[in-house]
Every structure is written in C-alpha cells, then in structure tokens.
C-alpha cells in the first residue's frame, strides 16, 4: 500500500453516506506522528505567544513549534521578531531561559552574540579564525521563522512559507477571539502570571477532540457536576448568568475552514459564574460598547479550537492552552489563565479561582479528561475496526441557515445546533479534513518522504 493510499484511508469521510470515521492507527502509529510533526505542526500556523508577554524593548520568551526551539524577542525599536532558538555556529540553544529581558543573547558555548533583533554582533576571535571568505560574507544572524503575524495580540508563526495570510487562515474564527479580547476596556489580552505545564500519556488528537466535545461533560465530569450543583444549592456559586426567555436552550457549533471550530451552549441558567458578571457597572458599560448580541455571546460557554494546537475556552474563566506531541502516546500541555487587560481586581480574583477550579491537572475537571485520554490511548491499540466516535450530528447535515451565525455576522462552513444534550461531533470533522489535506499534500508534492 502506498503512503498516499494509507493516509487517505485513515479518514473515511463520506458526507453523502453520512459516514465519518478516523482509523485507530491515526492515534497509535509513530510513523504518522513523524508526518504530523513535519507537515502539520512544523508547516502550519502555530500560536507562539501574546504581545503582552513581551511588552518592553529586549523582552523575550522561548517556546517550541513542534520539535523546534523558538525565541521571540522585542527589539530596541519595539518590533517583535520570531527566531529559531539555535546558534548559527554549532546549533546550541542561544537562550536557555523561559522569559526575561536582555539586549544581547550570548551563546555560552563559544561566545557568539546576537542582539534583540537577531543580528549576529560577535563571532569570537573571528580575525584569528582563518575562516574562508564565504563565511565572512554569510548572513550569520539568527534564523527567522518563515512567517510571523499578529491577530489581536496573539502571535502566530509558521516554519513554512506556504501558508495563507494569518487573517485568511483564522477566517471567521477571529470573531471568537474578538469575543474574548473585546471584554477588555482596552481590547487587549494578557496571561495571568503562572504558566502550568503538564503531560498525559496519550495522542495529541485526544486533546484536540476533547476541546470540541460537549458530549462528554456530564459523564466524564460527573463528580464536578455534583460539586457545581451543591454550590448552586448552598448559594456559594456567586451570580450566575441567565439567558433571555426568548432564547432557545441548546448546544451548537460552528466549523470553519482550515480545521478550526467552536462549540457553545445556550443554557437558561449557567452552572458557573463569570468574571464579567462580578462587575455589573462594567458589564453595563461594555453592553453599550459592544451591543446586546455580543454581550450575550461573551457570557455563553465557547470552546474555540484553532487547528492544530490552540484552544481558548471561555466559560467560568478563560483558558488558553497549547500542546506539542512528545511521542505518539505522550503530549505536553501548556496552560495559561487568559484575561482581558484592565478588568477589575475582583473580576481578576474570580477569574483565577474559577480557572484553578476547572482547569489543569490540579483542577476538578481537566484531571478527569487527562485520565480519559490515557484510557482511550490504551483502547485505541485494540485492532478492532473503526469506532463510532465521530457520528453525532451527521443525520442533520450542514445547517447553513442558523440565526446564530447571522447574528454574529459570520459564515461558518457548518452550523450545528441541537437540544441541550446534543453534543455534536461534526465539529471535529474540519480538523480531520485539514489534517488529511496537509499530510496528503506532502505525499502528493513528493517532498522529503
């Protein structure tokens, strides 16, 4: 079987037959992970940080795109650059720290130095080095990533030049970034200090799916639901947002090009408080600024996935999480509490408490998810044919006339909406279609196969 046929077979996507299956092997085969790293993670747009993480000249942070080390720096003129974190001399990591502020980064191995614009300023003992002329004329600056763009302070980089402009890539998913950013009086987002890193022993696509999976909530998080109910009964939940009586309760999703999707729900009364609701005066002011419709959506649960590895969850708090695969069955997660710049101290306190309550391996909900991924990973090893894991919502086909999309002014490729227990799975499909397209493109192009 050719590699091409093999990738094609991994996603069985037949809308006409109302069929959609992802092969178990997509979660367990290390050869597939190698292809994913090269042709998805290291070839597509990747979230690398927020501008507000490096607000001042010479501020820097380090991260990874796939396997590759990345250094983001703000130079002396205030421009942000994104570079491969590797010395041009002998490949050493130029900056070994997570974050800080430095005018120069000096490689500790042989002392080569780079300024905060990535320019090579020192080659130690260059004159005595008997270098060939070709070296003296060479560009020895830090290597820039192929593409680097910013949307609302969210910085994205691509190691391949063959990507659409960021704005086109994000498409109407941008409306859901706006719904978080516009909660800020100055329209900016920041991370609450304190990054949490954790791992789970399972394939990264389990996290990709889970962020779009409304269906699991009541079963996987049954113990958390009990706690929420108990808090509501004892009156310790704080104020809970409510929907207007003319809103139909339900659960839905929008799917976009390039694999992005968002799932959301309309509940008569939310189970959680919201930082915005703790500050009625600001909420009223915001309503004037952004309008009734967008306030309504700001207060609804929205789980946004930007393919392949960014999720922004705006519920009782806001979480921004990214991941990178370490192995076919091991994933590293990075989680931040995301916040509108300029919110009140009390809203911030509530945001942080709610974030800790829900998210991270130490939270009361995410820890359940992590264990579930590991059970799935073990189960996917069964040579047992396709699962029925991607079928909810297929009977309806894409609904294009949803009033929900219209009121937001967006044109998703699919709008799904159902009863509160709907939990559609068709919002995973665009991600798998993009996944297959990127892997197939590589095979079709006959690149370094």
């Amino acid at each position: 079987m050719s590699i091409h046929a093999s990738i094609s077979d991994l996603v069985d996507d037949r809308p006409g037959d109302q069929a959609f299956h992802v092969a178990r092997r997509a979660f367990t085969d290390p050869l597939i992970l190698d292809l994913e790293l090269s042709h998805i993670f290291e070839s597509a747009w990747s979230f690398v940080g927020l501008t507000t993480q490096i607000p001042k000249p010479h501020d820097y942070i380090t991260t990874f795109i796939g396997r590759q080390p990345i250094l983001l720096m703000r130079d002396g003129q205030g421009h942000v650059g994104c570079f491969l974190n590797t010395c041009r001399h002998r490949a050493t990591i130029v900056c070994p720290f997570k974050r800080g502020r430095q005018k120069f980064h000096v490689c500790r191995y042989h002392g080569w130095a780079y300024d905060s614009a990535g320019k090579n300023t020192i080659v130690t003992e260059m004159d005595d080095g008997q270098y060939p002329p070709s070296f003296k004329d060479a560009d020895r600056n830090l290597l820039r990533v192929a593409r680097f763009e910013n949307y609302r302070g969210l910085l994205f980089a691509s190691l391949s030049a063959d990507v659409p402009p960021l704005s086109d890539y994000l498409g109407d998913a941008k409306a859901f970034i706006d719904l978080v950013a516009d909660q800020s009086p100055v329209g900016e987002l920041e991370f609450v200090p304190g990054e949490i890193t954790y791992t789970f022993d399972a394939n990264w696509k389990l996290q990709f799916e889970n962020g779009l999976d409304y269906y699991h909530f009541n079963s996987t998080h049954a113990s958390y639901v009990d706690i929420l109910n108990q808090r509501a009964k004892s009156g310790t939940s704080g104020p809970l947002p409510q929907e207007a009586p003319d809103e139909t309760e339900g659960q839905g999703s929008f799917s976009f090009d390039h694999g992005h999707a968002v799932n959301w729900s309309i509940k008569r009364q939310s189970r959680y408080g919201r930082p915005l609701v703790t500050d009625p005066a600001y909420l009223a002011e915001l309503k004037v600024r952004v309008g009734e419709t967008r306030i309504k959506w700001m207060l609804r649960q929205r789980n946004l996935t930007i393919f392949p590895n960014l999720q922004i969850i705006d519920i009782s708090s806001a979480q921004l999480r990214t991941w990178r695969p370490l192995a076919v069955d091991k994933t590293e997660m990075t989680s931040h509490c995301l916040a509108p710049v300029g919110e009140s101290a009390e809203a911030r306190r509530v945001r942080i408490r709610n974030y800790e309550d829900f998210f991270n391996p130490s939270g009361l909900a995410t820890s359940d998810d992590n264990v579930m991924y590991e059970f799935c990973q073990t189960g996917y090893e069964a040579r047992a044919g396709n699962t029925f894991g991607h079928l909810r919502g297929l009977a309806n086909g894409p609904i294009s006339s949803s009033g929900h999309a219209q009121e937001l002014g967006i044109s998703p490729v699919e709008s799904a909406f159902g009863k509160p227990a709907f939990g559609g799975e068709t919002n995973f499909h665009p991600g798998y279609r993009e996944w297959r397209r990127l892997l197939q493109r590589h095979v079709d192009g006959g690149a370094d196969a």
């Binding site: 304190g194 949490i196 958390y224 991270n360 009361l364 264990v371």
Partner: protein, 172 residues
C-alpha cells in the same frame, strides 16, 4: 551553636512535628475526614505555580496557583469528589507515600508555630502501572486551638512542576 529551648517551646516543637507526620499518615492511609479535621475552618491551603525558573507566585489573587483554597470546606469538596467514586481520577486511587524531613520550627506572636519542612511523595498509579514522585517544601502555620495545634495555613512548593496527568491534595 545548639539551640536552647524552654521546655514549653520544646513541647510545642514536638507537637508541630507530630501534626506534620500525622497529616502525612492520614493522606497516605486515605483517612481524608481526619485529614481535613487537622485544618482550621478558615485555613488557607496554597500550592502556588512557578512564575519562571526561580520564583513561585506570591499573590494568589493576581497570579495562578495549582491549588488555592481559603477554607476547610473547599478541601472537603475535593474529598467528596474522590469519595463519590464518580471521578475517574480516583478509580483506582494512586498509592502514595509521604516522606517529611528537615523540619525547623519557629514561634510567632499569638502562639502560632511556623514549621518548615522538606517533603517527597512517592506515587504509584495502578491504573497505568506507573510511578513518579513529587517533591518540595512545606510551610505550616499551626495555631493552638482547643488544647491542640491545628493547621491555619499550609503553603506547598512543588519543585517538579511539570505534572504527569493529575495533581491532587493527596499527591503533594
């Protein structure tokens, strides 16, 4: 120079050591209710995150923590989640072994005793047949109450903060 202690201080220091070891024993024996009873009703239980390679968060209201609770009832919520048998994280529960050492105590005003110690928790998770450990430092603030000491505040620094899958009150 050896520390000179009054018999009273020596007694309180011994009481502090006893409560630290008792807490570890309750956690490892899964006697959660007795564990929670070691805490004052308005106790602060705090495991801060790390801000960078060197510093942990120092303000729970403006920075993220792994866990921050400001009452015993929030610890009891965590216990109820484990006991409900509805959380998959507890099916089965990992086996844990807490080791505490290098205890130093100092006395504050109002009879509060501050105990600093080093801790290690060895964890074996039968669910995945994996073992790992967490380690760090504790700072207990102990308050005399009804003729015994109770925990008024506990700060837990987790040195190895890249967390495998789950972190709960029994694993730190």
């Amino acid at each position: 120079m050896l520390e000179r202690m009054s018999p009273d201080l020596a007694q309180r220091k011994q009481a502090a050591v006893t409560i630290l070891f008792l807490e570890a024993r309750y956690l490892d024996d899964k006697e959660w209710d007795s564990w929670a009873e070691l805490y004052e009703p308005d106790a602060e239980y705090w495991a801060p995150s790390w801000l960078d390679e060197y510093d942990t968060a120092d303000d729970p209201n403006t920075q993220v923590s792994f866990i921050y609770h400001d009452s015993r009832s929030q610890l009891q919520e965590r216990i109820s989640r484990i006991q409900s048998r509805k959380s998959i994280t507890a099916l089965p529960l990992p086996r844990t072994l807490h080791m505490i050492s290098n205890i130093t105590t100092s006395e504050e005003e109002d009879g509060l005793v501050v105990a600093r110690s080093n801790w290690t928790t060895h964890i074996f998770d039968p669910r995945v047949q994996k073992q790992y450990l967490h380690f760090g430092t504790y700072e207990h603030v102990l308050k005399p109450s009804d003729g015994r000491l109770r925990i008024a505040r506990k700060k837990i620094i987790i040195m190895n903060d890249r967390i495998p899958s789950i972190l709960d009150f029994y694993s730190i």
